[in-house]
């Protein structure tokens, strides 16, 4: 690399800058430190809450350097790209240097390297080198991918090795990181993430993007046919289920019930069950208990529609609904609100909590009214995302696991079995080199020695 004489000055300097491990450590420390700041300062809250929290002055400084959305700020992205360049340049540089060593056809062994080792294991065999050579070769061949036998002046040497390719593990890890970064960039440029609330029975094709709340139009509409929620005895929600239909150009093209963890995927867009809420029901059934006649009447009322009460008690309209109404500081749950207008034109407001049928008695009217029945009407809260970078990121995940495994738990191991004639017997010396996990290699050398000793 970098042999071009003209540009070599700048090129070399850039290369030296980018292959430095100091740069790596600097970026990693900076990323760690700034990431921590991002967990201490809540991200993407409203401007008012920040001004309230930090005051106007700090707010302006923080805003100017994107502290409130820092993981998407230019400088955070810059650090990430710097990291990617660092890894790429460094890995190419290293790989170029070791490529020839890794993809060598016939490995070269130097006996002197093995002689220099401190840990050697030895024993003496009663047989001569000539009697041992075939047995030993077979034994070693079983354990190592490559081996070669060399005759020496007074005996022989078996060299063997395996796992040369595991030296590539690091580069698998580094390329996985590059894939992760690339995938996340693809996602942030070509993907989106937003929310939409769809009442049961209706369809929508516009969602609101996360954080910014900018409307975003989809190529299709999502229709919520039905929504159901079930609860544990404790009152915590157990399962939300939405029946959805995708409608493209006016025709239904897909139907699916989704629950949390089981989304609908269509055209690269994922539709997730996220939350839900209760909408104002369309119709309720009221029980009207007349005080004068002690009669109970059931009436079905549409929200916002005036009806005549029985026995000439006037006109009733129910026009509002709240999921959790607070009455004098007490939460009394789902409640309907309306008014009664008597024949004389006097208007009284009424509150009808679903859970407290006697509540309306307090009004001391000539009848009291309670909610006998109504059909819950929910909206489903969907999270709608698209991220074309996911396959790239997932490939990165797999390579990361494989690469880490190879890097940490496998090694390039070479071994030398040297047999020398000593009168009628032979002396056998076993020594081994590994690029990693040296204690493990020591144990392995011992094991091989024991095996050789057993066979003679």
């Amino acid at each position: 690399m970098g042999k071009k004489p003209t540009s070599s000055g700048l090129f070399t300097e850039l290369r030296i800058f980018f292959i430095s491990i100091k740069l790596t450590v600097f970026i990693l420390i900076t990323l760690a430190a700034t990431s921590i700041i991002g967990t201490l300062i809540p991200q993407n809250k409203s401007d008012e809450s920040y001004i309230h929290e930090y005051g106007n002055f700090l707010y302006r400084i923080f805003k100017a350097i994107n502290i409130f959305d820092m993981y998407h700020s230019w400088w955070f992205q810059f650090l990430i790209i710097l990291l990617a360049v660092n890894i790429i340049v460094c890995s190419i540089d290293r790989l170029a240097a070791i490529w020839k060593i890794i993809f060598i056809k016939i490995p070269v062994f130097k006996i002197s390297r093995f002689h220099k080792l401190k840990d050697k294991e030895a024993f003496s065999s009663k047989r001569s080198p000539d009697a041992l050579i075939d047995i030993y070769e077979k034994l070693i061949a079983r354990r190592f991918a490559y081996h070669t036998v060399e005759k020496t002046d007074n005996g022989f040497c078996i060299f063997a090795e395996k796992g040369r390719w595991t030296r590539l593990g690091v580069y698998i890890v580094h390329s996985s990181i590059v894939l992760l970064l690339a995938g996340s960039l693809i996602g942030s440029f070509l993907g989106f993430e937003g929310y939409v609330n769809i009442p049961e029975g209706s369809a929508k094709n516009v969602i609101f993007l996360r954080n910014t709340m900018v409307p975003h139009e989809l190529d299709f509409s999502i229709q919520c046919d039905d929504f159901n929620v079930s609860f544990y005895e404790t009152g915590a929600p157990k399962e939300f289920r939405s029946s959805l239909t995708i409608i493209e150009n006016g025709t239904p093209v897909r139907k699916k019930d989704i629950i949390v963890n089981d989304p609908l995927r269509y055209n690269g867009v994922n539709i997730f069950q996220s939350n839900y809420g209760a909408d104002t029901p369309k119709e309720i059934v009221l029980a009207i208990f007349s005080n004068s006649s002690s009669m109970e009447y059931k009436k079905t009322v549409r929200i916002g529609e005036k009806i005549d009460l029985p026995e000439g008690m006037g006109e009733l309209v129910i026009n509002n609904f709240m999921n959790n109404y607070k009455f004098k500081g007490h939460a009394i749950g789902q409640s309907f609100f309306g008014s009664i207008t008597s024949d004389k034109g006097e208007t009284q407001n009424i509150v009808l909590p679903v859970q407290y049928p006697q509540f309306d008695k307090m009004r001391r009217g000539n009848a009291y009214i309670s909610v006998a029945d109504f059909k819950h009407s929910y909206y489903t809260g969907l999270q709608v995302t698209k991220d074309p970078g996911v396959p790239v990121v997932y490939t990165g995940f797999i390579l990361m696991i494989l690469g880490c495994f190879v890097t940490f738990f496998m090694s390039h191991q070479s071994i030398c079995v040297e047999v020398m004639k000593k009168g009628k017997t032979s002396s056998v010396i076993v020594s081994g080199i590994a690029n990693k996990n040296k204690p493990g290699m020591r144990i392995k050398v011992k094991k091989i020695l024991q095996q050789l000793e057993k066979t003679g």
Binding site: I21, L28, I36, E239, F408, N437
Partner: protein, 277 residues
């Protein structure tokens, strides 16, 4: 007997084992050491039984989920992973001094779960987002990673208190493995931890993608686990590329474990999705 009372007993079994390890170290006696190993094995057996019982109990009350869903359950599992990884290590290296530190850590972990008034041992229903097999894979791998780091942390402390050896060394310190061996063990445990933390973060990301449609959301727990990952990545590079050894590696390993602890406990004081523990 239900699982939480079994696990309370296990707490005392681990406490007893830790005490035996310490006695065996101080008095350099073989018998308490051997007993300590067996008591720890009994503790692990009880711990395992407790986790399995809890799994059954959650089906009996009708929730039916793996016992990895709240702080109590995760601490119990954390204690289990540290104890198991430690036993494997003791078997390999035949040295029990480390047990005085690590099994004490196991004891504190499970004691905190069983005895702290802030932590409820009730079996709670699972919110819908947690109903995923990825959750199980995520929790198991994360805690294997944490266990590796916890043990590396114990060894790093040992490394720092063990001076260079030599004739002036006290008898207690002379029982500690040689610094060189400790250094290598720290490295092995950090690699083990890093491998599983990586898988833990990845399975968490896959799970988030299947539940919310995004694999990474910069929620505080995610961010802190990434910070932890960065710290150990720095440790590995310092060693593999710059050839750092010994004291400096031990110090980074201690800092890394502080980050683990914060990822685990501290983050619950910050707002986010992972508040269940």
């Amino acid at each position: 007997m239900d699982s939480s009372s079994l696990l309370s007993i296990v707490t005392f079994v681990y406490g007893f084992a830790a005490l035996l390890y310490i006695i065996s170290w101080i008095f350099n006696k073989e018998l308490p050491g051997k007993t300590a190993t067996w008591v720890t094995i009994a503790g692990v057996a009880g711990n395992t039984a407790g986790i399995i019982m809890r799994w059954f109990e959650s089906y009996q009350v009708g929730y039916g989920h793996a016992p990895f869903s709240n702080m109590y359950e995760s601490l119990i599992f954390f204690a289990w992973t540290i104890a198991v990884v430690y036993l494997v290590l003791e078997f390999q290296y035949k040295n029990r001094v480390l047990g005085a530190f690590v099994v004490t850590l196991v004891f504190f972990t499970i004691a905190y779960a069983s005895l702290s008034p802030n932590i409820s041992s009730r079996i709670q229903p699972l919110i819908p987002a947690l109903k995923s097999n990825w959750l199980i894979a995520h929790v198991i791998t994360c805690f294997l990673g944490y266990a590796g780091f916890a043990i590396a942390f114990g060894m790093s402390i040992l490394y720092l208190i063990k001076k260079d050896g030599g004739p002036g060394e006290s008898r207690m310190l002379s029982l500690v493995p040689e610094q060189e061996a400790l250094d290598e063990m720290i490295h092995q445990m950090v690699m083990f931890g890093f491998f599983f933390l990586s898988i833990g973060i990845i399975t968490g990301a896959v799970w988030a993608n299947s539940a919310w449609g995004r694999y990474w959301g910069w929620d505080p727990k995610e961010t802190w686990s990434l910070v932890t990952w960065f710290i150990y990545a720095m440790l590995l590079h310092a060693r593999l590329v710059r050839g750092w050894h010994g004291k400096r590696i031990a110090i980074i390993s201690i800092i890394g474990f502080m980050a683990v602890i914060f990822t685990y406990f501290g983050v619950n004081y910050l707002p986010g999705l992972h508040s269940y523990g």
